[in-house]
Protein backbone atom coordinates (compact mmCIF):
# COMPACT_ATOMS: atom_id res chain seq x y z
CA UNK A 1 0.00 0.00 0.00
CA UNK A 2 1.50 3.33 -1.06
CA UNK A 3 0.44 6.95 -1.36
CA UNK A 4 -0.11 8.01 -4.97
CA UNK A 5 1.86 11.12 -5.79
CA UNK A 6 1.14 14.05 -8.11
CA UNK A 7 2.53 12.61 -11.37
CA UNK A 8 0.56 9.38 -10.97
CA UNK A 9 -2.58 11.22 -9.86
CA UNK A 10 -2.42 13.34 -13.01
CA UNK A 11 -1.99 10.20 -15.09
CA UNK A 12 -4.97 8.52 -13.41
CA UNK A 13 -7.05 11.62 -14.08
CA UNK A 14 -6.00 11.81 -17.75
CA UNK A 15 -6.85 8.16 -18.32
CA UNK A 16 -10.19 8.73 -16.49
CA UNK A 17 -9.49 5.77 -14.20
CA UNK A 18 -9.83 8.40 -11.49
CA UNK A 19 -12.61 10.89 -12.20
CA UNK A 20 -13.02 14.15 -10.30
CA UNK A 21 -15.49 16.64 -11.73
CA UNK A 22 -15.36 19.60 -11.56
CA UNK A 23 -11.73 20.49 -10.84
CA UNK A 24 -12.06 24.26 -10.87
CA UNK A 25 -8.41 25.12 -10.30
CA UNK A 26 -6.03 22.28 -11.10
CA UNK A 27 -2.91 24.17 -10.02
CA UNK A 28 -4.30 24.92 -6.57
CA UNK A 29 -6.14 21.66 -6.03
CA UNK A 30 -3.65 19.00 -7.09
CA UNK A 31 -0.78 18.83 -4.61
CA UNK A 32 2.26 16.56 -4.34
CA UNK A 33 0.49 14.01 -2.14
CA UNK A 34 -3.17 14.92 -2.24
CA UNK A 35 -6.01 16.65 -4.06
CA UNK A 36 -7.96 19.40 -2.32
CA UNK A 37 -11.73 19.06 -2.53
CA UNK A 38 -14.35 21.75 -2.09
CA UNK A 39 -17.35 22.16 0.19
CA UNK A 40 -20.56 21.37 -1.72
CA UNK A 41 -23.84 23.28 -1.72
CA UNK A 42 -26.21 20.81 -0.03
CA UNK A 43 -26.42 20.32 3.72
CA UNK A 44 -28.27 18.33 6.33
CA UNK A 45 -28.26 20.18 9.61
CA UNK A 46 -29.03 18.59 12.97
CA UNK A 47 -31.97 20.15 14.70
CA UNK A 48 -34.01 19.62 17.85
CA UNK A 49 -37.15 17.55 17.42
CA UNK A 50 -39.88 16.13 19.64
CA UNK A 51 -37.82 12.94 19.91
CA UNK A 52 -35.27 13.37 22.70
CA UNK A 53 -32.59 11.20 21.07
CA UNK A 54 -31.61 9.49 17.83
CA UNK A 55 -32.58 5.86 18.18
CA UNK A 56 -30.31 3.47 16.31
CA UNK A 57 -32.46 0.40 16.48
CA UNK A 58 -34.04 -1.89 13.93
CA UNK A 59 -37.46 -0.35 13.15
CA UNK A 60 -36.55 2.64 15.34
CA UNK A 61 -37.85 6.15 14.66
CA UNK A 62 -36.62 7.73 11.43
CA UNK A 63 -33.19 9.34 11.73
CA UNK A 64 -34.13 11.86 8.99
CA UNK A 65 -36.39 13.70 11.43
CA UNK A 66 -33.34 14.97 13.30
CA UNK A 67 -31.94 16.71 10.21
CA UNK A 68 -33.10 19.62 8.08
CA UNK A 69 -32.18 20.04 4.41
CA UNK A 70 -30.74 23.30 3.24
CA UNK A 71 -28.98 24.46 0.06
CA UNK A 72 -26.70 27.28 -0.93
CA UNK A 73 -25.26 28.51 -4.21
CA UNK A 74 -21.53 28.29 -4.78
CA UNK A 75 -19.86 31.15 -2.90
CA UNK A 76 -22.70 31.45 -0.37
CA UNK A 77 -22.01 30.81 3.28
CA UNK A 78 -23.29 28.53 6.00
CA UNK A 79 -22.86 28.82 9.77
CA UNK A 80 -21.84 25.88 11.94
CA UNK A 81 -22.72 26.45 15.56
CA UNK A 82 -20.55 25.05 18.40
CA UNK A 83 -20.93 21.28 18.75
CA UNK A 84 -23.37 21.12 15.86
CA UNK A 85 -23.02 18.31 13.35
CA UNK A 86 -23.69 19.17 9.73
CA UNK A 87 -23.66 16.65 6.93
CA UNK A 88 -22.27 18.05 3.71
CA UNK A 89 -20.69 16.63 0.61
CA UNK A 90 -17.87 17.54 -1.69
CA UNK A 91 -18.62 19.81 -4.63
CA UNK A 92 -16.75 17.28 -6.78
CA UNK A 93 -18.21 14.02 -8.05
CA UNK A 94 -15.56 11.33 -7.75
CA UNK A 95 -15.05 7.86 -9.13
CA UNK A 96 -12.16 5.95 -7.57
CA UNK A 97 -10.26 3.24 -9.43
CA UNK A 98 -11.05 -0.26 -8.16
CA UNK A 99 -7.56 -0.58 -6.64
CA UNK A 100 -7.34 2.82 -4.96
CA UNK A 101 -8.84 3.90 -1.66
CA UNK A 102 -9.00 7.43 -0.43
CA UNK A 103 -8.32 8.97 2.94
CA UNK A 104 -10.18 12.21 3.47
CA UNK A 105 -8.91 14.74 6.02
CA UNK A 106 -9.71 18.35 6.82
CA UNK A 107 -7.07 20.76 5.49
CA UNK A 108 -4.76 22.00 8.21
CA UNK A 109 -6.22 25.54 8.14
CA UNK A 110 -9.67 24.16 8.92
CA UNK A 111 -8.37 21.70 11.55
CA UNK A 112 -7.06 24.73 13.40
CA UNK A 113 -10.57 26.13 13.59
CA UNK A 114 -11.82 23.05 15.39
CA UNK A 115 -13.35 21.38 12.34
CA UNK A 116 -12.37 17.84 11.63
CA UNK A 117 -13.18 15.23 9.03
CA UNK A 118 -11.44 11.90 8.87
CA UNK A 119 -12.95 9.26 6.62
CA UNK A 120 -11.86 6.41 4.41
CA UNK A 121 -13.55 5.86 1.05
CA UNK A 122 -13.47 2.42 -0.50
CA UNK A 123 -11.90 1.55 -3.87
CA UNK A 124 -14.35 1.93 -6.75
CA UNK A 125 -16.60 4.38 -4.86
CA UNK A 126 -18.56 6.66 -7.14
CA UNK A 127 -20.39 9.82 -6.06
CA UNK A 128 -19.72 12.95 -4.05
CA UNK A 129 -17.83 12.24 -0.83
CA UNK A 130 -19.81 12.70 2.34
CA UNK A 131 -18.41 15.25 4.81
CA UNK A 132 -19.50 14.90 8.43
CA UNK A 133 -18.61 18.28 9.87
CA UNK A 134 -18.67 19.01 13.57
CA UNK A 135 -17.69 22.34 14.98
CA UNK A 136 -15.56 21.66 18.07
CA UNK A 137 -14.82 25.35 18.55
CA UNK A 138 -16.53 27.50 21.19
CA UNK A 139 -17.40 30.03 18.48
CA UNK A 140 -19.69 29.54 15.51
CA UNK A 141 -17.86 29.15 12.20
CA UNK A 142 -19.10 30.55 8.87
CA UNK A 143 -17.95 28.40 5.97
CA UNK A 144 -18.03 29.31 2.28
CA UNK A 145 -19.39 26.77 -0.17
CA UNK A 146 -16.90 25.99 -2.93
CA UNK A 147 -13.91 26.56 -0.63
CA UNK A 148 -11.14 23.94 -0.44
CA UNK A 149 -11.93 22.42 2.90
CA UNK A 150 -10.63 18.83 2.74
CA UNK A 151 -7.72 16.98 1.19
CA UNK A 152 -7.98 13.56 -0.38
CA UNK A 153 -4.97 11.26 -0.08
CA UNK A 154 -5.03 8.29 -2.45
CA UNK A 155 -3.57 4.88 -1.60
CA UNK A 156 -3.14 1.92 -3.92
CA UNK A 157 -4.19 -1.52 -2.64
CA UNK A 158 -2.92 -4.87 -3.86
CA UNK A 159 -6.29 -6.24 -5.04
CA UNK A 160 -9.00 -4.81 -7.26
CA UNK A 161 -12.35 -4.50 -5.46
CA UNK A 162 -15.76 -4.50 -7.11
CA UNK A 163 -17.53 -1.68 -5.29
CA UNK A 164 -20.38 -1.09 -7.73
CA UNK A 165 -21.61 -4.63 -7.91
CA UNK A 166 -21.72 -5.40 -4.21
CA UNK A 167 -24.68 -4.35 -2.05
CA UNK A 168 -24.16 -0.67 -1.14
CA UNK A 169 -26.12 1.71 1.07
CA UNK A 170 -24.64 4.79 -0.60
CA UNK A 171 -24.29 4.78 -4.41
CA UNK A 172 -23.85 7.74 -6.79
CA UNK A 173 -24.84 10.21 -4.06
CA UNK A 174 -24.67 13.86 -5.04
CA UNK A 175 -25.89 15.38 -1.79
CA UNK A 176 -25.51 14.33 1.84
CA UNK A 177 -27.56 11.41 2.98
CA UNK A 178 -28.65 10.80 6.54
CA UNK A 179 -26.95 7.91 8.33
CA UNK A 180 -28.41 4.55 7.49
CA UNK A 181 -26.95 2.97 10.60
CA UNK A 182 -30.46 1.74 11.46
CA UNK A 183 -30.51 -0.27 8.24
CA UNK A 184 -27.71 -2.59 9.33
CA UNK A 185 -29.22 -6.05 9.06
CA UNK A 186 -27.59 -7.32 12.25
CA UNK A 187 -29.59 -4.80 14.30
CA UNK A 188 -32.62 -7.03 13.68
CA UNK A 189 -30.83 -9.98 15.24
CA UNK A 190 -29.53 -7.89 18.13
CA UNK A 191 -33.04 -6.58 18.78
CA UNK A 192 -34.51 -10.07 18.85
CA UNK A 193 -31.76 -11.15 21.28
CA UNK A 194 -32.62 -8.20 23.55
CA UNK A 195 -36.35 -8.81 23.38
CA UNK A 196 -35.82 -12.53 23.92
CA UNK A 197 -33.91 -11.82 27.15
CA UNK A 198 -36.61 -9.44 28.38
CA UNK A 199 -39.30 -12.06 27.76
CA UNK A 200 -37.35 -14.76 29.55
CA UNK A 201 -36.86 -12.49 32.64
CA UNK A 202 -40.58 -11.76 32.56
CA UNK A 203 -41.43 -15.48 32.41
CA UNK A 204 -39.05 -16.21 35.31
CA UNK A 205 -40.72 -13.50 37.42
CA UNK A 206 -44.15 -14.95 36.68
Amino acid sequence: MSIITRANLTELLSSRRLVIDPILDEAKQIGELSIDLRLGIDFLITSYTRNPYIDIDFDGKRIDNHFKKTRRQIGDQIVLYPHQTVLASTLEYIKLPSDVFCELKTRSSYNRLGLSVSTIIQPGYTGCFSLELTNNNLSAIKLTTGSRIVQAIFHRVDTELDYLHSVRKYLCQVRPVVSRADKDEELKKLKSMRLGRKNSYKNEEE
Binding site: I41, K95, G146, C172, R175
Partner: protein, 353 residues
Protein backbone atom coordinates in the same frame (compact mmCIF):
# COMPACT_ATOMS: atom_id res chain seq x y z
CA UNK B 1 -69.41 52.89 -1.32
CA UNK B 2 -67.90 56.32 -0.70
CA UNK B 3 -64.23 57.13 -1.26
CA UNK B 4 -63.80 57.48 2.49
CA UNK B 5 -65.12 53.93 3.07
CA UNK B 6 -62.89 52.55 0.31
CA UNK B 7 -59.95 54.28 1.96
CA UNK B 8 -60.61 52.39 5.23
CA UNK B 9 -60.29 49.06 3.44
CA UNK B 10 -57.38 50.06 1.22
CA UNK B 11 -55.33 51.34 4.16
CA UNK B 12 -55.87 48.09 6.08
CA UNK B 13 -54.73 46.02 3.09
CA UNK B 14 -51.70 48.22 2.49
CA UNK B 15 -50.69 48.18 6.16
CA UNK B 16 -50.91 44.39 6.16
CA UNK B 17 -48.79 44.25 3.01
CA UNK B 18 -46.22 46.64 4.45
CA UNK B 19 -45.97 44.63 7.65
CA UNK B 20 -45.41 41.38 5.74
CA UNK B 21 -42.90 42.98 3.38
CA UNK B 22 -40.92 44.36 6.31
CA UNK B 23 -40.92 40.92 7.92
CA UNK B 24 -39.18 39.67 4.79
CA UNK B 25 -36.55 42.43 4.82
CA UNK B 26 -33.79 40.23 6.20
CA UNK B 27 -34.83 37.16 4.24
CA UNK B 28 -32.13 35.27 2.40
CA UNK B 29 -33.22 35.39 -1.22
CA UNK B 30 -31.23 33.38 -3.68
CA UNK B 31 -30.45 36.33 -5.97
CA UNK B 32 -29.66 40.00 -5.45
CA UNK B 33 -32.26 40.80 -8.10
CA UNK B 34 -34.92 39.54 -5.69
CA UNK B 35 -33.49 41.70 -2.88
CA UNK B 36 -33.71 44.79 -5.14
CA UNK B 37 -37.23 43.89 -6.22
CA UNK B 38 -38.24 43.52 -2.59
CA UNK B 39 -36.86 46.98 -1.76
CA UNK B 40 -38.90 48.50 -4.59
CA UNK B 41 -42.07 46.86 -3.28
CA UNK B 42 -41.43 48.34 0.18
CA UNK B 43 -40.97 51.79 -1.38
CA UNK B 44 -44.16 51.34 -3.41
CA UNK B 45 -46.30 50.27 -0.47
CA UNK B 46 -45.10 53.24 1.58
CA UNK B 47 -45.95 55.68 -1.22
CA UNK B 48 -49.31 53.99 -1.77
CA UNK B 49 -50.28 54.40 1.89
CA UNK B 50 -49.55 58.12 1.72
CA UNK B 51 -51.46 58.46 -1.56
CA UNK B 52 -54.51 56.59 -0.28
CA UNK B 53 -54.63 58.65 2.91
CA UNK B 54 -54.60 61.83 0.85
CA UNK B 55 -57.43 60.74 -1.49
CA UNK B 56 -60.25 63.25 -1.61
CA UNK B 57 -63.96 62.55 -2.03
CA UNK B 58 -63.64 63.40 -5.75
CA UNK B 59 -60.96 60.77 -6.39
CA UNK B 60 -63.41 57.92 -6.88
CA UNK B 61 -61.94 56.98 -10.27
CA UNK B 62 -58.55 56.29 -8.72
CA UNK B 63 -59.90 53.61 -6.37
CA UNK B 64 -59.82 50.85 -9.02
CA UNK B 65 -56.23 51.73 -9.89
CA UNK B 66 -55.22 51.37 -6.23
CA UNK B 67 -56.88 47.99 -6.11
CA UNK B 68 -54.78 46.94 -9.11
CA UNK B 69 -51.62 48.10 -7.35
CA UNK B 70 -52.61 46.13 -4.28
CA UNK B 71 -53.23 42.98 -6.35
CA UNK B 72 -49.80 43.39 -7.91
CA UNK B 73 -48.23 43.76 -4.45
CA UNK B 74 -50.11 40.76 -3.14
CA UNK B 75 -49.04 38.59 -6.08
CA UNK B 76 -45.42 39.75 -5.81
CA UNK B 77 -45.41 39.11 -2.08
CA UNK B 78 -46.50 35.51 -2.56
CA UNK B 79 -43.68 35.01 -5.07
CA UNK B 80 -41.08 36.56 -2.77
CA UNK B 81 -42.25 34.76 0.33
CA UNK B 82 -41.82 31.41 -1.38
CA UNK B 83 -38.36 32.41 -2.60
CA UNK B 84 -36.87 32.43 0.86
CA UNK B 85 -36.92 28.66 0.67
CA UNK B 86 -33.67 26.97 1.35
CA UNK B 87 -34.15 23.98 -0.94
CA UNK B 88 -34.29 25.92 -4.20
CA UNK B 89 -33.74 23.73 -7.30
CA UNK B 90 -30.93 25.90 -8.72
CA UNK B 91 -30.26 23.46 -11.56
CA UNK B 92 -33.83 23.80 -12.88
CA UNK B 93 -33.76 27.58 -12.60
CA UNK B 94 -30.41 27.68 -14.41
CA UNK B 95 -31.87 25.79 -17.41
CA UNK B 96 -34.90 28.08 -17.53
CA UNK B 97 -32.76 31.21 -17.33
CA UNK B 98 -30.97 29.99 -20.48
CA UNK B 99 -34.30 29.44 -22.20
CA UNK B 100 -35.55 32.90 -21.24
CA UNK B 101 -32.37 34.52 -22.57
CA UNK B 102 -33.16 32.97 -25.97
CA UNK B 103 -36.54 34.70 -26.02
CA UNK B 104 -36.49 37.82 -23.90
CA UNK B 105 -34.15 40.81 -24.19
CA UNK B 106 -34.71 41.63 -20.52
CA UNK B 107 -35.17 38.23 -18.92
CA UNK B 108 -37.35 38.23 -15.81
CA UNK B 109 -36.34 37.60 -12.23
CA UNK B 110 -37.27 34.07 -11.28
CA UNK B 111 -38.90 33.27 -7.96
CA UNK B 112 -39.78 29.75 -6.89
CA UNK B 113 -42.75 28.18 -5.23
CA UNK B 114 -42.65 24.62 -4.00
CA UNK B 115 -46.14 24.19 -2.68
CA UNK B 116 -48.49 21.40 -3.54
CA UNK B 117 -50.23 21.76 -6.88
CA UNK B 118 -49.30 21.82 -10.52
CA UNK B 119 -46.27 23.04 -12.37
CA UNK B 120 -46.66 26.66 -13.44
CA UNK B 121 -44.70 29.65 -14.66
CA UNK B 122 -46.37 33.03 -14.44
CA UNK B 123 -45.51 36.68 -14.14
CA UNK B 124 -46.64 39.23 -11.57
CA UNK B 125 -46.86 42.00 -14.17
CA UNK B 126 -47.51 40.09 -17.36
CA UNK B 127 -51.26 40.00 -16.68
CA UNK B 128 -51.20 43.79 -16.92
CA UNK B 129 -48.17 45.09 -18.79
CA UNK B 130 -49.19 48.74 -18.49
CA UNK B 131 -49.07 48.60 -14.70
CA UNK B 132 -45.28 49.01 -14.52
CA UNK B 133 -45.52 52.20 -16.60
CA UNK B 134 -48.26 53.57 -14.38
CA UNK B 135 -46.24 52.84 -11.24
CA UNK B 136 -43.25 54.62 -12.71
CA UNK B 137 -45.27 57.67 -13.75
CA UNK B 138 -47.16 57.98 -10.52
CA UNK B 139 -44.53 56.93 -7.95
CA UNK B 140 -41.20 57.12 -9.77
CA UNK B 141 -40.41 53.47 -8.99
CA UNK B 142 -39.18 51.45 -11.92
CA UNK B 143 -40.10 47.77 -12.18
CA UNK B 144 -38.06 47.22 -15.32
CA UNK B 145 -37.79 43.48 -14.84
CA UNK B 146 -40.71 41.16 -14.64
CA UNK B 147 -40.96 38.90 -11.59
CA UNK B 148 -42.04 35.42 -12.55
CA UNK B 149 -42.78 32.44 -10.43
CA UNK B 150 -41.95 28.87 -11.21
CA UNK B 151 -44.26 26.53 -9.39
CA UNK B 152 -42.92 23.05 -8.80
CA UNK B 153 -44.89 20.56 -6.73
CA UNK B 154 -42.99 19.99 -3.46
CA UNK B 155 -42.78 16.27 -4.21
CA UNK B 156 -40.97 16.85 -7.51
CA UNK B 157 -38.46 19.48 -6.41
CA UNK B 158 -35.44 17.30 -7.16
CA UNK B 159 -37.10 15.18 -9.84
CA UNK B 160 -35.04 16.37 -12.80
CA UNK B 161 -36.68 13.88 -15.15
CA UNK B 162 -39.93 15.82 -14.80
CA UNK B 163 -38.31 19.20 -15.51
CA UNK B 164 -39.54 18.80 -19.08
CA UNK B 165 -43.00 19.93 -17.93
CA UNK B 166 -41.72 23.37 -16.94
CA UNK B 167 -40.47 24.05 -20.47
CA UNK B 168 -44.11 23.90 -21.60
CA UNK B 169 -45.08 26.30 -18.79
CA UNK B 170 -42.38 28.79 -19.82
CA UNK B 171 -44.04 28.68 -23.24
CA UNK B 172 -47.18 30.25 -21.70
CA UNK B 173 -45.08 33.14 -20.40
CA UNK B 174 -43.46 33.72 -23.80
CA UNK B 175 -46.84 33.39 -25.51
CA UNK B 176 -48.20 36.19 -23.30
CA UNK B 177 -45.08 38.28 -23.72
CA UNK B 178 -45.45 38.38 -27.51
CA UNK B 179 -49.20 37.91 -27.73
CA UNK B 180 -48.70 34.98 -30.10
CA UNK B 181 -51.73 32.74 -29.66
CA UNK B 182 -54.13 35.65 -29.14
CA UNK B 183 -53.15 37.47 -32.33
CA UNK B 184 -52.92 34.25 -34.35
CA UNK B 185 -56.26 33.03 -32.99
CA UNK B 186 -57.94 36.28 -33.97
CA UNK B 187 -56.46 36.06 -37.44
CA UNK B 188 -57.67 32.49 -37.91
CA UNK B 189 -61.12 33.27 -36.59
CA UNK B 190 -61.82 36.61 -38.29
CA UNK B 191 -59.54 36.92 -41.31
CA UNK B 192 -59.36 33.31 -42.39
CA UNK B 193 -62.91 32.83 -41.18
CA UNK B 194 -62.22 29.40 -39.76
CA UNK B 195 -65.18 29.11 -37.37
CA UNK B 196 -64.93 25.39 -36.74
CA UNK B 197 -64.25 26.25 -33.08
CA UNK B 198 -65.28 29.19 -30.89
CA UNK B 199 -62.91 32.15 -30.86
CA UNK B 200 -61.86 31.33 -27.29
CA UNK B 201 -61.21 27.67 -28.14
CA UNK B 202 -59.21 28.67 -31.22
CA UNK B 203 -56.96 30.90 -29.11
CA UNK B 204 -56.66 28.36 -26.28
CA UNK B 205 -55.78 25.54 -28.66
CA UNK B 206 -53.16 27.61 -30.43
CA UNK B 207 -51.70 28.57 -27.04
CA UNK B 208 -51.34 24.91 -26.04
CA UNK B 209 -49.85 23.97 -29.42
CA UNK B 210 -47.40 26.87 -29.10
CA UNK B 211 -46.31 25.76 -25.62
CA UNK B 212 -45.88 22.16 -26.78
CA UNK B 213 -43.73 23.33 -29.70
CA UNK B 214 -41.85 25.71 -27.44
CA UNK B 215 -40.98 22.82 -25.11
CA UNK B 216 -40.18 20.49 -28.02
CA UNK B 217 -37.46 22.90 -29.17
CA UNK B 218 -35.57 22.11 -25.95
CA UNK B 219 -36.69 18.68 -24.77
CA UNK B 220 -37.73 17.12 -28.07
CA UNK B 221 -40.17 14.21 -28.12
CA UNK B 222 -40.18 13.95 -24.31
CA UNK B 223 -42.94 16.54 -24.24
CA UNK B 224 -45.28 14.49 -26.42
CA UNK B 225 -44.45 11.34 -24.47
CA UNK B 226 -45.37 13.12 -21.23
CA UNK B 227 -48.62 14.36 -22.78
CA UNK B 228 -49.42 10.83 -23.85
CA UNK B 229 -48.88 9.66 -20.26
CA UNK B 230 -50.89 12.44 -18.59
CA UNK B 231 -53.78 12.85 -21.02
CA UNK B 232 -53.69 9.91 -23.42
CA UNK B 233 -57.42 9.84 -24.18
CA UNK B 234 -58.28 13.53 -23.85
CA UNK B 235 -60.32 14.83 -26.74
CA UNK B 236 -60.87 18.43 -27.89
CA UNK B 237 -62.22 20.73 -25.16
CA UNK B 238 -62.70 24.48 -24.92
CA UNK B 239 -59.35 24.85 -23.13
CA UNK B 240 -57.18 22.18 -24.77
CA UNK B 241 -56.86 20.49 -28.16
CA UNK B 242 -57.01 16.70 -28.18
CA UNK B 243 -53.86 14.97 -27.00
CA UNK B 244 -53.71 13.15 -30.32
CA UNK B 245 -53.47 16.41 -32.26
CA UNK B 246 -50.98 17.89 -29.80
CA UNK B 247 -48.67 14.93 -30.23
CA UNK B 248 -49.07 15.06 -34.01
CA UNK B 249 -48.10 18.74 -34.14
CA UNK B 250 -44.98 18.14 -31.99
CA UNK B 251 -43.93 15.09 -34.00
CA UNK B 252 -44.43 16.90 -37.33
CA UNK B 253 -42.30 19.80 -36.06
CA UNK B 254 -39.49 17.53 -34.85
CA UNK B 255 -39.55 15.40 -37.98
CA UNK B 256 -39.80 18.46 -40.27
CA UNK B 257 -43.06 17.24 -41.80
CA UNK B 258 -45.50 19.84 -43.18
CA UNK B 259 -48.11 20.90 -40.65
CA UNK B 260 -50.51 23.86 -40.90
CA UNK B 261 -50.40 24.69 -37.18
CA UNK B 262 -46.60 24.60 -37.10
CA UNK B 263 -46.49 26.92 -40.15
CA UNK B 264 -49.06 29.27 -38.64
CA UNK B 265 -47.20 29.56 -35.36
CA UNK B 266 -43.78 29.77 -37.03
CA UNK B 267 -44.96 32.81 -39.01
CA UNK B 268 -46.62 34.36 -35.98
CA UNK B 269 -43.42 34.01 -33.94
CA UNK B 270 -41.32 35.58 -36.68
CA UNK B 271 -43.64 38.57 -36.79
CA UNK B 272 -44.30 39.06 -33.08
CA UNK B 273 -41.11 37.83 -31.43
CA UNK B 274 -38.54 39.97 -33.24
CA UNK B 275 -37.78 37.45 -35.97
CA UNK B 276 -37.09 34.61 -33.55
CA UNK B 277 -37.76 31.16 -34.83
CA UNK B 278 -39.04 27.81 -33.74
CA UNK B 279 -36.13 25.43 -34.09
CA UNK B 280 -34.48 22.48 -32.44
CA UNK B 281 -32.33 23.82 -29.61
CA UNK B 282 -31.00 20.60 -28.12
CA UNK B 283 -28.35 18.00 -28.72
CA UNK B 284 -28.72 14.66 -26.98
CA UNK B 285 -25.52 13.51 -25.22
CA UNK B 286 -24.67 9.80 -25.35
CA UNK B 287 -25.56 7.59 -22.40
CA UNK B 288 -21.93 6.50 -22.02
CA UNK B 289 -21.15 8.57 -18.89
CA UNK B 290 -24.36 7.59 -17.13
CA UNK B 291 -23.68 3.94 -17.90
CA UNK B 292 -20.36 4.38 -16.10
CA UNK B 293 -22.22 5.98 -13.16
CA UNK B 294 -20.72 9.38 -13.97
CA UNK B 295 -22.32 12.76 -14.67
CA UNK B 296 -22.10 13.82 -18.32
CA UNK B 297 -19.69 16.70 -18.97
CA UNK B 298 -22.07 19.13 -20.70
CA UNK B 299 -20.29 21.10 -23.40
CA UNK B 300 -22.87 23.74 -24.31
CA UNK B 301 -26.46 24.91 -23.87
CA UNK B 302 -27.80 22.50 -26.51
CA UNK B 303 -26.47 19.60 -24.44
CA UNK B 304 -27.77 21.24 -21.28
CA UNK B 305 -31.33 20.88 -22.55
CA UNK B 306 -30.56 17.58 -24.31
CA UNK B 307 -29.39 15.82 -21.14
CA UNK B 308 -33.01 15.13 -20.13
CA UNK B 309 -33.38 12.92 -23.20
CA UNK B 310 -30.20 11.06 -22.20
CA UNK B 311 -31.67 10.51 -18.74
CA UNK B 312 -34.95 9.20 -20.14
CA UNK B 313 -33.18 6.98 -22.64
CA UNK B 314 -31.24 5.26 -19.89
CA UNK B 315 -34.31 5.10 -17.61
CA UNK B 316 -36.31 3.34 -20.36
CA UNK B 317 -33.47 0.87 -20.91
CA UNK B 318 -32.46 0.53 -17.26
CA UNK B 319 -32.86 -3.24 -17.20
CA UNK B 320 -30.05 -3.66 -19.69
CA UNK B 321 -27.98 -0.51 -19.15
CA UNK B 322 -28.11 -0.59 -15.33
CA UNK B 323 -28.58 -4.33 -14.90
CA UNK B 324 -28.77 -5.70 -11.38
CA UNK B 325 -30.17 -2.55 -9.77
CA UNK B 326 -33.71 -2.14 -8.45
CA UNK B 327 -35.99 0.38 -10.19
CA UNK B 328 -35.71 2.63 -7.13
CA UNK B 329 -31.89 2.55 -7.17
CA UNK B 330 -31.82 3.11 -10.96
CA UNK B 331 -34.10 6.13 -10.69
CA UNK B 332 -32.04 7.65 -7.86
CA UNK B 333 -28.81 7.16 -9.79
CA UNK B 334 -30.13 8.55 -13.11
CA UNK B 335 -31.81 11.48 -11.40
CA UNK B 336 -28.70 12.28 -9.33
CA UNK B 337 -26.47 12.07 -12.40
CA UNK B 338 -28.81 14.33 -14.38
CA UNK B 339 -28.88 16.96 -11.63
CA UNK B 340 -25.12 16.75 -11.10
CA UNK B 341 -24.41 17.05 -14.87
CA UNK B 342 -26.38 20.31 -14.90
CA UNK B 343 -24.90 21.49 -11.58
CA UNK B 344 -21.32 20.91 -12.75
CA UNK B 345 -21.94 22.87 -15.97
CA UNK B 346 -23.52 25.66 -13.92
CA UNK B 347 -20.61 25.72 -11.41
CA UNK B 348 -17.99 25.79 -14.18
CA UNK B 349 -19.76 28.65 -15.97
CA UNK B 350 -20.03 30.58 -12.76
CA UNK B 351 -16.33 29.95 -11.91
CA UNK B 352 -15.21 31.16 -15.36
CA UNK B 353 -17.20 34.38 -15.10
Amino acid sequence: MTVSMHKNYLVIELCQLKSKLLELTDAQYFTNALVNYHQKLVALVEKLILSVISLSAEDYKRIERFKEYISFLQESLIYLEDSTLNITPYETIFCLEKVLKDWDETPPIIATSLKAGNYHFRGALSQNGALADLIQKEFDIEFSEELVQIGIPQLEVYNYLYNIVIYHEVGHYIDQLYDISYSTGNEVFYIKEDKSKSEEATINHLAEHFCDLFAAQYVGPLISEYLDFKAENDSDSESHPSTKSRIEVVNDFLNKRPNKIVDLLTNAIKQSADNRELKVRFEVPSTESFEEYLPHIIKDENELHGVYQTAWKIWRNRETLLAGLSAEQSFDIINNLTGKSIANYMIKQSWKS
